[in-house]
Symmetry: C2
Subunit: 198 residues, 2 copies
DNA sequence: GTACTAACTGACTAGTCAGTCAGTTTGGAA
DNA sequence: TTCCAAACTGACTGACTAGTCAGTTAGTAC
């Protein structure tokens, strides 16, 4: 049995619960019972509930950054446009494969805490910077190789694409429409939005 | 003094609090003290806290539907494309002017309740139907008058545009970027995405 | 005035929750 | 074995919350 198994069990159970039920609706007792430990044990590893949440966010940040850097180490792209569309598709894929991560990023508490807790704010900014920079880099590359419309502001367009992808992920998890059917259409729409039409 | 002033005061205070603090983090005591009434009075007008929330959602639904129908009664458009872009701009405008409405629509509790409460679900569907239908109608019109790309599925594209607009509104309220600066860019991006390029 | 009802209230209850603390268990070093 | 610190625990507390209820007030019809 690995040494820090209980601490990491707490972390992963807390991730799941904070993501699916939210901060306030998740009780420490619940986290403890899911991790099969005594309630007080959590407070040995994490000073407060807020502290636990920030640790969860840190692990999410680490996960997201790692996944994206792995992806871009392995993949090769024929153009900036293809790289952008690949990044969008990978973002959508990650949001399905690691649903809790992106659920947590949609929780209001995350942003409310970021206002008063600088560490939380830093992790959040790191995550968004990672996501936006990938899109921006692809757009820059595409403007150089001619696959992306030259008139675009790459920064602003990167933000709009991020908002678009997030919006679709959100629409899906709202259970009102089956947005999964929209993933293909989203890629096509992105292409129409940024490609260099001659 | 109008007859139902206390009930409607409760409703508007609850709207504000549920939207900005969320359902769980808003206590009935808090609503009561903001409305300057005794705590028990709320339970005279609304059976439970959940009942109050559903009433709040109903008033938001009524407000959104009314605002959009007013807008389209007054405005005239030269093409389907212009109508679409006008609707997007008006959506963005409403999200600023009636911030609580759209904050409430981003709260997780709203969608969690919709799973178990059919009335809540109905109001939510009414709101989304209203928003999507406007975009879809504009796209249909644009395909007829030639201003919109004929290859588009108007339904799917309407959903994507809604996701995009919601995503931008969300990005703004997250306090990480000043997305207000993106409103103009968003309209331009929408145009590029759907216009009929010859 | 009287009678009646709708609107309203203060005091209360039963339950939940984050966090504390004094004490026990565990694992490894000497 | 002995010792020690880190890991862990059960029992507790004070603060807070949704909802109840018996009773009071305000408005209206006669």
């Amino acid at each position: 049995m690995p040494k820090r198994s209980k601490k990491s069990t707490i972390l992963s159970m807390a991730t799941l619960l904070f993501a699916t039920k939210g901060f306030t609706n998740t009780s420490m007792t619940e986290v403890a019972s899911m991790a099969d430990i005594a309630g007080a044990t959590i407070f040995y590893h994490f000073k407060t509930k807020e502290d636990l949440f920030v640790s969860v966010l840190e692990s999410v940040k680490t996960g997201i950054v790692k996944e994206f850097s792995l992806y871009f180490q392995e993949e090769q792209f024929t153009s900036g446009l293809e790289m952008l569309l690949g990044a969008v598709a990978y973002h959508l894929h990650l949001a399905t494969a690691n649903r809790e991560w992106f659920l947590l990023l949609r929780r209001h508490y995350t942003y409310e805490l970021a206002v008063v807790n600088p560490i939380c704010r830093k992790y959040l900014e790191d995550i968004y910077t990672c996501l936006v920079d990938i899109f921006e880099k692809a757009l820059d590359l595409g403007q150089q190789d001619g696959s992306i419309n030259q008139d675009l502001s790459t920064r602003k367009t990167a933000l709009i694409i991020l908002a678009m992808v997030d919006g679709i992920i959100q629409l899906e998890s709202n259970n009102l429409y089956n947005a999964g059917a929209l993933y293909g259409e989203l890629i096509v729409s992105c292409r129409r939005m940024v490609e260099n039409k001659q």
